[in-house]
């Protein structure tokens, strides 16, 4: 199946390519011939070059305009750009899942989301994912001729292609369908710490134990180059915005490192972070369930533990 076209929907940050796209391209290279799909105006040369460096043979772009915010319009553009693709890889997030679900219905493709990997087995695509708050591993086979796979950020390590792809720029014509939905307004939101929580390779979260003071959590996140997360307790208290909530109903994260500070580890929270690479916990309560899933835990007051850890990490960085 190595000549199969594997389309990768590019996750954009304005004119830049987001890191999970490079991970998706790395995975796509193992499945066939990667083709990157950029929804929007012609991508800048730097972005095309980067996509090619990670193996994109072609970079297809489709101009959709403001309607790109509507799943039906975005799906129509994606359909036009991926008509010859056997597999479409998307970054698993809410908006991409909406777009891809429409595409799956239009094309009859089988769809798996939140996957941590994919491979060909006897001519069928199989994916691996974790379910039930990451307490089970599941392998799923796509029975349909075409497959759509949503991959979680940080589950494949992005690696440059041994030989870059051609990165041939191709414009795709799209007829955007008439829509009944109207976009009334768009209020841009500045990302809090640069990297969205769901894509961060390091997440430092604070819960009830912070008593609402996130200074130490932010400082530790800063020194580790990570994003700041929170438990539902903390967002319910109004200590920090809902967009920081890690959990089954908030953001699901799978960073290489997750540091839980003053978080007991209720099932709700664990469901959103249990598949993380390395889990570190600081909690005053030795019975806190978070310790059951922590690779390294400190039973203690985070107001003692975090300042010392931060100081030591600073020394290490300086040395």
């Amino acid at each position: 199946m190595s000549d199969a076209i594997i389309a990768v929907l590019v996750e954009r940050r304005g004119a830049h390519v987001a890191q999970p796209t490079l991970e998706a391209l790395t995975l796509a290279r193992t499945l066939g011939r990667p083709v990157a799909v950029w929804l929007g105006e012609e991508p800048p040369a730097a972005a095309v070059e980067e996509l090619a460096a990670y193996g994109a043979d072609e970079v297809r772009f489709a101009v959709v305009g403001d309607a790109l915010r509507l799943p039906a319009a975005a799906a129509a553009a994606l359909e036009a750009a991926t008509a010859d693709a056997t597999v479409l890889v998307i970054v698993s997030n809410f908006t991409n899942k909406e777009i891809a679900t429409r595409l799956a219905i239009a094309t009859g493709a089988g769809m798996v989301v939140d996957a941590a990997g994919a491979e060909w087995v006897e001519g069928r695509l199989e994916t691996i994912q974790t379910v039930f708050a990451a307490t089970w591993n599941v392998r799923t086979r796509v029975n349909a001729e075409r497959a759509i796979v949503g991959v979680r950020p940080n589950t494949t390590q992005a690696v440059l292609a041994e030989a870059p792809g051609a990165g041939t720029l191709v414009a795709v014509d799209v007829e955007v369908p008439a829509s009944r939905e109207t976009i009334v307004s768009v209020e841009p939101q500045a990302p809090a710490d640069g990297v969205p929580l769901s894509e961060a390779s390091v997440v430092v979260s604070g819960g009830r134990g912070t008593r609402g003071d996130y200074a130490l959590v932010r400082e530790l996140a800063g020194i580790l180059g990570g994003a700041v997360g929170a438990s539902r307790d903390a967002t319910d208290e109004g200590w920090i915005g809902h967009e920081h909530m890690v959990g089954q109903t908030g953001t699901t994260v799978t960073p290489a490192l997750y540091v839980a500070c003053g978080i007991s580890g209720a099932v709700h929270h664990r469901g959103g972070m249990q598949a993380s690479g390395t889990i570190v916990a600081v909690n005053i309560d030795p019975e806190a369930p978070i310790f059951e899933i922590a690779d390294f835990g400190v039973v203690g007051d985070l107001n003692d533990v975090l300042p010392q850890a931060i100081e030591r990490l600073r020394e290490h960085k300086a040395s």
């Binding site: 940050r13 799943p71 809410f94 209020e187 990302p191 922590a294 390294f296 100081e311 990490l313």
Partner: protein, 264 residues
């Protein structure tokens, strides 16, 4: 105004969840209505409360085996007016497209008496968490799609929602009939009170088989599923875990662990 709310029967989050022969184990003992569907029910109830008595009717609908009736019973306890349960052996093993096909057919059937103005769903089910169903349902019913709604208002024959995305807050509006999927930010679900719980006991649940809603059994179920689970196993616990008690060196130990692992 007629509103249909979709609800799902899922294993309780606090219970031990598992797979049996490739399918999620679902039994009444540890099953419940999907928590995120409480937000969908609440959204419907709040719309009804804004309208004069008797001018809004809410029907909860679920698809699933015999135990799944517990999900619509819960919706009745919360205050919806009617309950529909689509149950048929042929549905077992359906993927999200099969489930959405059956739900869409049931909603069309409910619409035969009088048109449905609004279909409200939760943002995801806490078992699979794929959040694909609302989009699929909108497409099968050919309704405007207002999903990931952190706010919802219905006025002058249109629904308006706010979507809180990573890069922007987007306000979208569509004329009714429409499908809305609400997030857990949209409202704070109420608890059922004693009076409603008692009243719910005597409320009937309408049960449909696939033939009643006009769905070909071959188009749903395990045989029609575009994906199937080929292997499921519990994840092994993490190995070599280290828990230390802070006696003055805890922070340093934490930092050293990160440095040794190459994480700092």
């Amino acid at each position: 105004m007629r509103i249909v709310v979709t609800v799902k029967f899922v294993p309780d989050l606090q219970s031990t969840r598992s797979f049996t022969e490739g399918y999620v184990t679902r039994t009444a003992d540890d099953g419940t209505m999907n928590e995120l569907d409480e937000n969908a029910v609440e959204a419907a109830l709040q719309i009804r409360e804004l309208l004069p008595e008797g001018e809004c009717e809410i029907t909860a609908v679920t698809v699933g085996g015999p135990d799944a009736v517990a999900a619509v019973r819960k919706a009745l306890q919360l205050g919806v007016d009617h309950a529909v349960h689509v149950s048929d052996e042929a549905i077992a093993g359906s993927d999200v497209f099969g489930t959405a096909t059956v739900l869409a057919a049931a909603i069309r059937k409910i619409g035969e008496d009088a048109p449905v103005d609004l279909v409200i769903t939760g943002m995801a089910a806490l078992d699979g968490l794929t959040s694909m169903l609302p989009t699929a349902l909108a497409q099968y019913l050919d309704l405007p799609q207002l999903t990931l709604a952190s706010t919802l208002s219905v006025a002058d024959g249109a629904a308006t929602i706010e979507r809180h995305l990573d890069d922007a807050h987007v306000t979208v509006s569509a004329p009714l009939p429409a499908l809305v999927a609400v997030t857990d930010e949209a409202n704070k679900p109420r608890y059922p009170n004693f009076k409603l719980i008692m009243a719910a006991r005597s409320k009937p649940v309408t049960t449909y088989a696939l033939a009643d809603v006009g769905v070909d059994p071959a188009s749903v179920g395990a045989m029609a599923a575009r994906t199937s689970v080929v292997d499921a196993s519990p994840r092994p616990p993490r190995e070599n875990r280290v828990i230390v008690t802070d006696t003055g060196e805890g922070g340093r130990a934490l930092a050293d662990f990160l440095i040794e692992r190459g994480l700092a």
